[in-house]
């Protein structure tokens, strides 16, 4: 036992309380805000095309929606796996406990899934599904017959109505997406006893980092899928994505710097241990990965690629590398918030370390699985509801002006 204690003591520095030796929130809780951030970011990107009429983003509109849905399906899984009793989450819906912010997440999630994403996708794809139900054969024909819920009217008036409602849902969806990810920041920001988390800026910083990660994700998925489909990438679309990514990174980095500078200026009693944590335990994940590789390098490369005189191939390569680095950076951001907040002692006198498992429910392999799962779901969704601009079904109206299909 003495040997165990002495070995353990070598991993900590300074003084920590006995119950701070082991971290309670591990890598799964890092994955959870990362995934919800991707959902919110992807949806906000989709809304740019729909609500703000950025028509050049049309090639990624449906892809963004489907990506948001695929990642949303997986978003609560890290929490369920972490808690160990997934069946109990059902009770949250049966007996809602309104004063628990964590319990209310169930309703925020259900609202976002049922009222925002599924409805918007249904209204957007209804016309296509009706047409595919006549073109396809076998099982897919059957599926496409069920999915429009019996509404087979593809008249111009009906499609206009679909578009109008889709637009209204997107307008509702933007504050909902803000709520979904702002909520995650709220959970951390409202932990008063933790100086690393307790900040009113937390939900805002989470939100903007979500937008950054969502845009970068769609950029990566669009480039990879277009390449594998042997199609030509829309350069105006990529340029616009890169521009929005750049602006989002600038706002995100400014907000985080503001938060950091304010902490330095306030210089509360925690500042010494937090500085020590940043310069030792979090140096790689915060300074190197989040700030340099995840923010400054992508920012510089995006400015260089977007506004410099470069051939398209080079430009695409720069965008792609920047987007990958942004993903690494945002994952590090989540890591630094979740793990960083537990590395220092509440006595503000010492630091502990996080030892990640490889196997087991909360291990690295499970994390890898949860990060790959949304991509598998997205692949299946794209088979069911192809999001590519060239696969959109076209309605052909007869000259007589009837509202049916030819």
């Amino acid at each position: 036992m003495v040997t165990n204690i002495m070995t353990g003591l070598q991993n900590i520095s300074g003084y920590i309380y006995p119950n701070e030796f082991e971290l309670h929130w591990g890598i799964l809780i890092v994955v959870y805000p990362y995934l919800t951030g991707l959902v919110a970011g992807a949806f906000i990107l989709a809304s740019l095309e729909r609500v703000f009429n950025v028509k050049v983003l049309q090639p990624v509109y449906r892809l963004s929606l489907l990506s948001a849905l695929a990642f949303l399906f997986v978003a609560p899984l890290p929490l369920l796996v972490h808690l160990g009793h997934p069946e109990r989450s059902f009770e949250m819906f049966l007996t809602p406990y309104t004063s628990s912010a964590m319990a209310m997440f169930g309703f925020v999630y259900a609202w976002y899934l049922m009222v925002v994403l599924l409805l918007e996708i249904w209204f957007d794809y209804r016309k296509d599904m009706v047409i595919w139900s006549k073109e396809k054969r076998g099982l897919m024909r059957f599926v496409y017959r069920i999915l429009p819920l019996g509404v087979t009217d593809v008249s111009e008036k009906s499609i206009l109505f679909d578009n109008k409602i889709g637009r209204i849902i997107t307008i509702i969806g933007i504050p909902s997406a803000f709520l979904l990810h702002g909520y995650v920041g709220f959970i951390f920001g409202s932990v008063k006893a933790n100086p690393w988390w307790s900040s009113v800026l937390m939900p805002i910083v989470f939100l903007f980092s979500a937008i950054v990660s969502g845009i970068a994700l769609i950029l990566i998925i669009y480039m990879v899928t277009t390449m594998f489909r042997l199609k030509t990438m829309s350069m105006p679309c990529l340029n616009k994505l890169a521009e929005f990514l750049l602006y989002a990174i600038i706002v995100d980095l400014s907000l985080e710097s503001l938060d950091f500078i304010q902490r330095l200026y306030e210089s509360e009693e925690s500042i010494k241990i937090l500085s020590e944590m940043i310069s030792s335990r979090l140096f790689l994940s915060l300074i190197v990965s989040q700030v340099i590789l995840g923010s400054i390098v992508p920012m510089v490369s995006l400015v260089w690629a977007r506004f410099g005189r470069l051939p398209d191939e080079m430009r695409r390569m720069a965008y792609f590398i920047a987007a990958i680095l942004v993903q690494v950076g945002i994952f590090s951001t989540r890591w630094n918030v979740v793990i960083g907040g537990q590395l220092f002692s509440k006595s503000l006198r010492g630091l502990t370390v996080y030892k990640m498992q490889l196997f087991g429910l909360e291990g690295l392999l499970m994390t890898g699985f949860l990060l790959i799962l949304p991509l598998i779901i997205l692949y299946l969704l794209s088979k069911l509801l192809p999001p590519w601009p060239d696969s959109e079904a076209k309605v052909q109206y007869s000259q007589a002006g009837d509202h049916g299909l030819r």
Partner: protein, 247 residues
């Protein structure tokens, strides 16, 4: 075609959402126990179920009635806060039928370490041992009377009771300092620690004896200017003396 001017899309979705909401309502009716919410956000019947459970513990007042000869010394000992049934187990049946049910007494070595084995989270001053090193193989009762657990002899080292501090100090820059270098320990403290407390320094000049600019100590000892360093604060407001992190 529209029904009552409502588009078909809305009707179809309203139908689906009605089914989902109805399913939720039915699920609530089926799964929420009827007594849920009567007193608060929990099942009220759970209270009756707990009340209906068999009573196993008699409470120490019941023990005193017959065993006052044990209670009296125990009440004056360090174990006065430990109820009889903590060691002897639930005794409600014993109270009802004293001869039929006789509660046991832990006589093996493994029981006392449940409270007295070293654990850094235990409060300082709480007697703790490292079981493997402390008189291996001997039952605790050989030397200690659990009803009046006085130590057979005065502890030789402070770590007998202050093990957490001793372990922390052992890996610190202050490892080579004896406890009495800083603490004044009255003899009575070794016998009645709670009535005669050891004293700790109260002035910053005490730390200055080693750490002031002009102190007569080794060159590797960190030095500060007492007039300017830390201003009005006491040294231990910032530095934990048992593990001073400043270099």
């Amino acid at each position: 075609m529209n029904v009552l001017g409502i588009p078909k899309q809305i009707l179809a979705l309203a139908f689906i959402f009605t089914i989902i909401i109805a399913a939720l309502v039915v699920a609530r009716m089926l799964f929420i126990p009827p007594s849920f919410g009567r007193y608060g956000h929990y099942r009220a019947d759970a209270v009756d179920e707990v009340i209906a459970q068999e009573i196993n513990y008699a409470g120490y007042e019941a023990c005193i009635e017959c065993h006052d000869e044990i209670y009296e010394p125990k009440e004056k000992s360090h174990h006065k806060g430990v109820s009889c049934e903590v060691c002897h187990g639930p005794a409600a049946k014993h109270v009802q039928a004293p001869d039929e049910f006789v509660p046991g007494a832990p006589r093996k070595r493994g029981y006392c370490p449940l409270c007295h084995d070293y654990n850094p989270s235990r409060p300082t001053g709480f007697p703790q041992i490292i079981t493997e090193l402390h008189n291996p193989g001997k039952a605790c009762m050989t030397c200690h009377d659990p009803h009046n657990p006085l130590l057979p002899h005065t502890p030789e080292e402070c770590s007998a009771c202050h093990r957490e501090i001793a372990n922390t100090k052992r890996v610190s820059h202050h490892a080579s300092l004896a406890c009495v270098r800083c603490h004044t320990v009255p003899d009575e403290h070794l016998v009645h620690p709670k009535f005669a407390l050891a004293q700790a320094p109260v002035e910053r000049e005490f730390c200055g004896e080693c750490h002031a600019k002009d102190a007569d100590t080794g060159r590797d000892v960190p030095r500060i200017d007492l007039d300017t360093h830390g201003e009005r604060y006491l040294c231990w407001d910032c530095h934990y003396p048992h593990h001073p992190e400043a270099r």
